[in-house]
């Protein structure tokens, strides 16, 4: 079964909504157990890093457990950077299904950090690899690569900001 455009759009939109609402348990459930969550750094003006084992990334995790750790930290009350968290809205556009199970898209997020009285926009590209689960036939995220185009980070960037 190949992925339809409609299925891809629904999944990406759903992920964006869950992140924005802070429904992070449901968000985690979108990811396969061994999922890769990857936001490369940049070598220079035009080239993001490509090999996470020999080059630096902003975030690179293989395994959902690592995302669970991030969610735990964001909720822990033990991280001053994580609370009060900024208000965020994701906008996901230009969704294109490629190669039966891969999806490319563009994103922008708008953040408002009340404590800092600071509004910021992150923007870039998403590349997903999806996998259909054996149990219920639902599509899950096997890989999400976030190419952040404006990578001069104003203080903090977290999993819910991009």
């Amino acid at each position: 079964m190949t992925l339809t455009h409609a299925e891809a759009e629904v999944l990406l939109t759903r992920e964006a909504m869950l992140l924005d609402r802070g429904d992070w348990d449901e968000w985690l459930a979108l990811y396969a157990e061994d999922a890769i969550f990857w936001m490369p750094a940049w070598r220079d003006e035009l080239n993001p890093t490509e090999d996470p084992d020999s080059e630096l990334s902003l975030i690179y995790y293989k395994g959902r457990r690592n995302l669970e750790d991030r969610v735990w930290r964001a909720r822990s009350g033990l991280s001053v950077a994580s609370a009060p968290r900024p208000r965020v809205v994701h906008q996901v556009t230009n969704v294109l299904v490629e190669d039966g199970h891969r999806v490319a898209a563009s994103f922008s997020t708008h953040l408002f950090d009340k404590r800092a009285e600071r509004t910021h926009t992150f923007f870039g590209r998403y590349d997903y690899a999806l996998v259909r689960t054996a149990e219920d036939g639902a599509w899950k995220i096997a890989m999400k690569k976030i190419t952040l185009l404006n990578d001069t980070i104003p203080t903090v960037v977290d999993f819910y900001s991009v």
Partner: protein
């Protein structure tokens, strides 16, 4: 605007056991302007690593204070630093972070310069009806008046009146050596620069790197996560040397760490750590024991946060980071950060180093954001002048002593002052070195 007098900024009275710094130091625009002129544009600063321009004609760009700088390796392999500005009308010549160019051509009027900074052409010079006076002008890129290298670390100054680099680094050079000599082939930056800003004064970063006191207060989420990873091991998570480190444990007893201070504002904050497989350097443990000896190896494995005043910090703890501090304004700072690694390490060790780095050091990681958000909270609080003096520079005053101790002597290191103690001492007197150097550099520029 006139800057306040020195006595209203730094209250340094050793005989009374007092060292206080005023909030004004962190948010006064007149002070920031003087810091740019006197400190960042008035003496040695770190530029980058020689390995950022390894081949003939390679270059990279940076800034010294507010001035754009080009570091270029010429055809004979010699490195030099230039003001990255055309002598014609001032346009920045090299516009990329790094590259390779035998010839740099100004994009504005096509004056050209070779990789040694020599002018190779003035467009339409003969037709230009220049006077003989112009023919006699120097048309090369302006060289930084002082430029030098220590084991791959490059430094430059926009003024000529500086001590020789070796004198300025002094004993602190031995601490750079502990970084540079982890591999026989020296060190390199892992590809991928991470740049972030924070809405705070640059001296907040200077202090935080040397501040052991904040660790368990600002980073409990990271510490708890390491504990959870130990309790429920999962091969997909990365371990950390902090997980086994006694330095922050309430139960730790005896000597756990301390500080060394050096002339010109250089300082080290250190904590004892074992030769542990939690560090990627472990694969070299035997080789290092033979090549550098047991004592220097012990120091290479221990947690070390080094500041070479005013803009270089090398943090070796959860992983290994090179940081360059770039002040943008009294309340705004840019950090340029890289993962620093010994050349020739195995693929597995490099992967471990990178994962540990991302976890702890990145602005997208699980520790640094808790620092930078705290800097911003400090910066807001600095607006107050109700009680201008801060009480954040007094821990360890009763333990600071002139000279070093047995541990520094074990590697032939002779600091100006030292503090040594248990895990909860968390010395703050090493900050004094920053502020005394700051005061020395401001001499004559501030009212008494």
């Amino acid at each position: 605007m006139l800057a306040p007098g020195l006595a209203r900024l730094i209250d340094d009275r050793p005989a009374d056991g007092v060292f206080r710094v005023s909030r004004t130091m962190f948010d006064d625009p007149a002070i920031f302007d003087l810091e740019m002129k006197r400190i960042f544009e008035g003496g040695w600063v770190f530029l980058g690593l020689a390995s950022q321009a390894p081949e003939p004609h390679d270059f990279f760009t940076t800034t010294v204070g507010r001035v754009p700088v080009l570091v270029s390796r010429d055809g004979d392999g010699r490195l030099a630093a230039f003001v990255n500005s055309c002598p014609h009308r001032g346009a920045m010549i090299a516009q990329t972070m790094c590259g390779n160019a035998k010839l740099h051509v100004c994009a504005y009027h096509s004056w050209s310069f070779d990789s040694a900074g020599r002018n190779k052409g003035v467009k339409w010079q003969e037709a230009g009806c220049y006077t003989p006076a112009f023919e006699g002008e120097r048309k090369d890129l302006a060289r930084l008046p002082a430029f030098g290298e220590h084991k791959g670390f490059l430094f430059g100054s926009l003024v000529a009146d500086v001590p020789p680099l070796a004198d300025w680094l002094g004993e602190a050079a031995k601490l750079l050596d502990l970084v540079a000599e982890q591999s026989e082939d020296g060190m390199e930056l892992v590809p991928g620069a991470v740049i972030f800003t924070f809405a705070g004064n640059w001296k907040l970063q200077l202090e935080n790197c040397s501040d052991a006191y904040h660790f368990t207060s600002a980073h409990p989420s990271y510490i708890r996560l390491l504990e959870q990873r130990k309790e429920k091991p999962d091969p997909s998570t990365i371990g950390s040397v902090w997980a086994d480190d006694p330095a922050w444990s309430e139960a730790a007893e005896g000597i756990q760490g301390g500080s060394y201070s050096f002339p010109y504002g250089h300082v080290l904050n250190w904590g004892r750590m074992d030769v542990s497989p939690a560090l990627p350097l472990y694969e070299r443990a035997e080789e290092l024991a033979e090549r550098v000896g047991i004592e220097r190896r012990a120091w290479m494995f221990s947690m070390r946060n080094l500041t070479i005043f005013p803009n270089l910090q090398v943090a070796e703890n959860a992983s290994s980071q090179l940081r360059v501090i770039r002040p943008l304004g009294p309340g705004r700072t840019e950090m340029r950060t890289w993962c620093l690694a010994p050349r020739g390490e195995s693929a597995a060790a490099r992967r471990q180093r990178i994962r540990q780095y991302e976890d702890f050091f990145n602005p997208s990681g699980m520790a640094t954001p808790d620092d930078t958000v705290s800097y911003e909270n400090c910066q807001r609080g600095f607006a107050s002048r109700v009680e201008p003096w801060l009480l954040g520079h007094a821990r360890g005053l009763g333990a600071s002593k002139a000279g070093g101790n047995a541990l520094s002597a074990s590697i032939g290191l002779a600091p100006e002052r030292s503090v040594i103690g248990g895990s909860q001492l968390c010395d703050e007197t090493l900050f004094h070195s920053y502020y005394r150097e700051w005061a020395r550099r401001m001499a004559g520029a501030l009212p008494a």
